[in-house]
Amino acid sequence: MSGTSEQRRQFLKTSVGAAAVAIAPGMLMFDMAHGETEAVSSKVRWGMLINTANCADCDKCVKACNKENGLSGGLSPTDSQWIRKVELKDLRTGRSLALPMMCQHCAEPPCVDVCPTGASFKRADGIVLVDKHICIGCRYCMMACPYKARSFVHEPLHDQKPDVPRGKGVVESCTMCVQRVDAGKIPACAEACPNKSILFGNLNDPNSEISNKMRTEASTQVRADLGLDTGLRYQGI
C-alpha cells in the first residue's frame, strides 16, 4: 500500500516537473514579447540636419515617407503631404537649390500653443505630434504653423498601416517616423536619401554625429527670427 502511494507521489512530482519545463519557456517568451518599453524622456531631443548642397534632383525622401506612412502621394490641395520638395531660386543671382520641407519639430511649437483641445502636443523627446483621438479638426494649428507642414484629412481612408493610424477629420503631419524611432530605427526619409543629406540624431547628446557636425559646420534654422528653436536645421541656405 505504501509502495503504491510512494509511486503515485513520485509520478505526480515528475509530471508537474515536466509540465513546468514545457510551459516555462513559453511564458518567458510571452513576457518578453509583451515587454513594455520605457517612456521617452527629455534627455533625448531628436533632430535632423539637412545638407542642401548634396540634395540632388530627386524625391526619394518624399516617396519613402509616403510608403512608410501610407500616404497617397497625390499633390492636390486636399491630399496629405508630410514632406515636400521645395525649390528656391534667388532671382537676382540666379542661384537655385532644392530642399525637403516638413514639420520642423520646434521646441516652442506654435501649433501646440493654439490647439484648443490639447491634441497637438510635443513629446518629451521633442517630436511634435497630433493625438488624433483628441483632435476635433479645427485646423488652428495649420494656420499657426509657419512652415505649412500640416495637412487635414478630407476623405475617408482605407487600409491604413497598422503602425500609422490615419483618418478623416483630423490634422496630421510629419511624425519623424515615431514608430520607427521608438523601434530604434531612423526616419524613412533619412534612410532613403541616396546622398545621406538627411542626418538624424540626438541633439542633446554632445557626442552624437549630428551634434558634432552642428558644432563644426554652419547650419541655420528656417525662420530663426520666430525663435521657435526648430529641431530641423539646414545647411547651405
Partner: protein, 171 residues
C-alpha cells in the same frame, strides 16, 4: 344550491363565489376534484410550453444564430488561443485597458504593451477575410452590433491582420 353544485363541472369559481351551506359534503368533494383537475391541467400546459421553448432554443442554436442561454452573438475568434486576460474580464474591460495603453503609447512612447489593438487584431481577425469587422460574426463587430455600440477604432486603425496588408501592392 344543489342544482348549482351539480352544474359546476369545470367551473369551480362560480360555485365558490356563491353563498352556500358549508355543511354540504358532496358539493365540497366535487369542488376539491375540480380544483385538482384544473391544477393538473395547468401544470401539464406549463410543462408542454417549457418543452416547446427548449426545443426551439436548441434548434436556433444548431442554426448558429445564437449561442448560450442569453442569445449572445456567436463570434469568429480567428486564431484565438491564450488571450492576454480572461475573456469574461476582457468583455467588460477591454475598452478601459485599450484607452489607457493608447494614451501611454501616443504621449509617452511606451510601446510593446500587451493590451494593444494591433495584438487584438493579430489574434482575432477572421482566418477567412483577415478582418475583425465587416461581417455579423466578425470578432469586434459581432458584439458591437449586438450591443448597439458604435465602433470608431477602425476608421483610422487597421482592422486587418498584418499578413493581409503585406500582400497588397504598395501605392
Amino acid at each position: 344550491m344543489n342544482l348549482l353544485c351539480d352544474q359546476s363541472d369545470g367551473a369551480a369559481s362560480y360555485s365558490t363565489r356563491l353563498p352556500h351551506n358549508g355543511n354540504h359534503a358532496s358539493c365540497r368533494r366535487a369542488l376539491h376534484l375540480d380544483l385538482l383537475v384544473t391544477v393538473a391541467v395547468r401544470i401539464a400546459m406549463v410543462l408542454v410550453a417549457m418543452l416547446c421553448m427548449s426545443s426551439i432554443a436548441s434548434a436556433a442554436e444548431s442554426n448558429g444564430s445564437v449561442a448560450g442561454s442569453y442569445g449572445m452573438p456567436k463570434l469568429d475568434i480567428g486564431k484565438g488561443g491564450h488571450c492576454v486576460a480572461p475573456p469574461e474580464w476582457m468583455r467588460i474591460n477591454h475598452m478601459k485597458v485599450l484607452f489607457k495603453q493608447r494614451d501611454e503609447t501616443v504621449h509617452q512612447g511606451i510601446r510593446g504593451g500587451k493590451y494593444s489593438l494591433k495584438n487584438c487584431v493579430e489574434c482575432h481577425a477572421s482566418l477567412s477575410d483577415n478582418s475583425v469587422i465587416g461581417r455579423p460574426d466578425s470578432f469586434c463587430e459581432g458584439c458591437h452590433r449586438y450591443e448597439a455600440v458604435e465602433i470608431d477604432c477602425f476608421e483610422c486603425h487597421s482592422s486587418k491582420r498584418s499578413v493581409a496588408l503585406v500582400q497588397e501592392v504598395p501605392k
